[in-house]
Symmetry: C2
Subunit: 343 residues, 2 copies
Amino acid sequence: MDEDSFQQIQDLGFAKLIKKFEALAVTHNDAVLQGIGDDASVARQREGYVTCSTSEIFLEGVHFDLTYTPFHHLGYKIVTAAVSDIYAMNAEPEQVLISVAIPNKYSVQMMEQLYKGIGAACADYDVQLGGGDTTASHQMLAISAAATGSVKEKDAVYRSGAKKDDIICVTGDLGGALAGLRVLLREKKAWQESERKQHFQPDLQEYETVIQKQLIPKARKDLVKAIHESKIKPTSMIDVTQGLVSELSRLALQSNLGIEIYSPAIPIALQTRAVADEMNEDVDKYAFYGGEDFEMLFTLPEALIEKFKAEFDDFVVVGKMTDKDKELTINTGEEQDYRIDIF
Amino acid sequence: MDEDSFQQIQDLGFAKLIKKFEALAVTHNDAVLQGIGDDASVARQREGYVTCSTSEIFLEGVHFDLTYTPFHHLGYKIVTAAVSDIYAMNAEPEQVLISVAIPNKYSVQMMEQLYKGIGAACADYDVQLGGGDTTASHQMLAISAAATGSVKEKDAVYRSGAKKDDIICVTGDLGGALAGLRVLLREKKAWQESERKQHFQPDLQEYETVIQKQLIPKARKDLVKAIHESKIKPTSMIDVTQGLVSELSRLALQSNLGIEIYSPAIPIALQTRAVADEMNEDVDKYAFYGGEDFEMLFTLPEALIEKFKAEFDDFVVVGKMTDKDKELTINTGEEQDYRIDIF
């Protein structure tokens, strides 16, 4: 059967569908003693280690739009979202449980694409698909991903650990996922308004980087690897999923400190700037408030920055932890600084 | 604000809503070092132990019908469904992550009722609410629960461990949750057809036991406690969520054996029989195919049955493990036995 076929899920049955899913995500993680196939998955514990657990829920029409999201990318992205939270504790993800509620407008082939994406992400992050729940839905596709991972208790990094004068660092660049979303929504609108929909060609090529950032973001496994190898442990860490300002606020609140940010230092890719310019929007807003970048925000004592840079260089310094009364101060490098009320 | 008020969630905001949820589920489990409030929850590992993980997804209109399901009961039930899978591994549940996607037709007060039910279940099962994801939905309420728990590696009980001639036992009684559902659906239909809907009084009192079994089922924590205290470990175990025949088939398949069941021994409550009679339906079908009872099916060597009965008496013997070629044989006690093809 080729991939364009449309086989109804009820014609195959859930038991056989689940067998297909199993075959599409075959990565084994050594900590997992029992994956799919029992009441629960089973992972080995070790003295001195902790288990980190997180869960995400993605709803069609809220978190993804299937008019421009391939199922494969959707599967990849939800695994990224779940394991990113495990990396943000400085832990190694071990397994992911996927629960999916499928309306009958989607075919067996579409769900296979979804699980191919899940399988590709499992391979990239070395995590095992440990089971989950597969069920029907009336209208909307709903997907939940729960990830677990391990780290030595003494190596776990919390949001609450930042100290005054610690330097705030951010990996990669910010605002790209929102820029990608803006382009996709513009092209969707153009398609909807097009009189010859079948011949409509979206204009996406020059925006490839930001569209990839929106559709198939990568979790920062490389940062956690560098932390483990360098033995330079951040004092606090959080992944950037709701936008920089939101994550900075949480870090400040939970570390009971203030934050000062130098906004010219915020890393923004050229393509992100180009999109903001085209949309006549302020690119700083993309970086400050755009979600889903899955970059990592972390803090280090100033004395360790250069040493860590020698081990891992895909980050920049964007500010520092201050007294609590400074709240979240954005230093623009021009006359007017501004402060955001976070408490 | 009283409970009949309708406060829009967007008027409160998700951050404050999550704070309310936190305050409604306060049970602490000692294994949990970090609950709500970081990228992931953190639980202590111990040498020689394993972590069991499971996840469930419940969709409005598929898994629950809010015309007859109070939010409080719904919250209780999804936690029950998740921890039941942990108990089925002979493990102690430690925490549950709840991800919820909320359409704006539901109020802050309704969601508080949901989390009161989640909190009540967390208290009953000694599990900590470890976080999750709270988000918007367009039309339907979707809830996912992921539970984790621990057990000594040597004490974990798998579906695959049953041996030939082991005795098959089942706790409580079966078919009750389906009987409750049948009554609720009948009363819903009567209400829909009623000309004076506001004055309609559903006839539920005499069905209280089966309706409770449908709306607020209990996971069999007591069985797992008895197993730990008696040190009599089942050779295999599975919780009855999809119906007895489905669970027996999985046990047979995964233990690579056949099963013989004595159908007159299947435990069925009087109220379940009464409902089947009223509906002119075969009560054995309720017991064989009805889901959501959350009873436990387990196997023991024959020599241990009496000894275990002295420690825990809410179970009956329903059959035994046989050679694989017997598949699933239902011995009715009358002339005609029948066999169900499971391979």
